[in-house]
Symmetry: none
DNA sequence: GTGGTCTAGACCACG
DNA sequence: GTGGTCTAGACCACC
């Protein structure tokens, strides 16, 4: 597993790791139930401090993205239940970005096209629930 | 002018201030060309150090949201030209949030409805006519 | 006489005024010996404080660009003798900009072409001394 | 690393620091990829407040001259991409200085000679080959 | 250890 | 009056 970390970015490394894994699930590269490397292994692979990976795993566990089993290491969760406050956080972030896009001249059509194109590019579909 | 600052949030105060002002423009509460408080005034209003407000004004000036006139303090820009790299930043942020929404079970219809509802709630519309 | 002042620029207004007049001489719009408006007149024309124009006139007088005569107001100098330290200042400023241009990928040919094109666009030629 | 700061100059210290570093890159004294002192170290070396150095680093980071790595401090960028508006700024500055030089009697030959001599003195050359 | 943020208070140039 | 700069010193998150 290899990730593109940007040390010049102010985003903390452990958040970048978390984002990379979430995006990898979205792209279908990581499947629900799939094992992910141990903390030490991943730390070595991407060349960061194990503490940093540990922090990333901890928040992903808290967010419900991964399951940590002492015997089997960690694996991607089988499903991702709604997380407290996610809906609200999503709304407030979307509002901020939509506002900036609008101010900078992006009209509704372009904005919606971008949203749709991005959403449809996501490979992951929930295992439960019908696919529309 | 009163803003809701969250000191428990790790987001720096000056970024929170910047976001509040961008959102206020989007809501139509701040009009292009309208004066905004002086650094000292806003600092006193929200109870922070003037340097913190100054930093917020500096980045908003660099981003093109406000103009700073040595004589009269600052005002909202008349137009907001595209900013270096905004489109790319928007895309990568949207992808991250869309992915997380999808993982948590939000289908395309719901996601698009949310995006549209948020965009349509923005009051600001770019000036497309002649200068009055 | 009308100048394009940029209040959003951090360059002091009186320096902007000074630069505008120097450039106007270079473009041939202001001729050596030509009268320029009184402080009050120019202040009214461009809409700034008379103190600001006064400051601009003072430095231009010190730099040798204008002559201030109590009876006739001010006028463009007939010649512009070398000013203490100008050569050194020119060199150090050119070095800074040339360096930045080089770092950003501008090669010698492009840089020299730009310098020549700019110099040849200057209309003013000294009254004394042969034209080569 | 030692810099010649001029406290009588109105140019802000952090801009002077920035200019010193840009010039040092141009002279080849600082190589792309090379580490530069930590904020605290440089602050101590030149005898200014760390916040002043921090501001210099921030603008150099924004301008693309350095990269800041949370782990190891800062280093000179490997390449210096074009910066928004630099070309235009260069042109307007060159025009102002070329005009003043012409007014003061510097003919085209002398001016071009000076430009060329300065450019050729720059040691830095953009990497055009493969990455070693 | 690093850079980033914030404060309190001072001084300055500008207009 | 304004914004801009600088200091001294503190605290924080990150690694």
């Amino acid at each position: 597993m290899i990730f593109a970390l940007d040390y010049n970015d102010t985003t903390p490394i452990y958040v970048q790791l978390r984002n990379c894994i979430v995006l990898a699930i979205g792209r279908g590269e990581l499947q629900p139930g799939e094992r992910i490397p141990t903390i030490r292994q991943l730390a070595e692979d991407v060349g960061v401090n194990p503490m940093t990976v540990s922090k990333a795993y901890t928040i992903m566990k808290n967010e419900g993205f991964i399951q940590v089993d002492r015997r089997h290491g960690a694996q991607i969760s089988m499903e991702f239940p709604d997380h407290r406050g996610f809906h609200q956080r999503l709304e407030s972030e979307l509002r901020l970005y939509a506002t900036e896009a609008s101010l900078r001249g992006m009209d509704e059509t372009s904005f919606m096209a971008m949203c749709q194109e991005i959403y449809r590019n996501i490979q992951y579909r929930p295992a439960t629930g019908e696919i529309k």
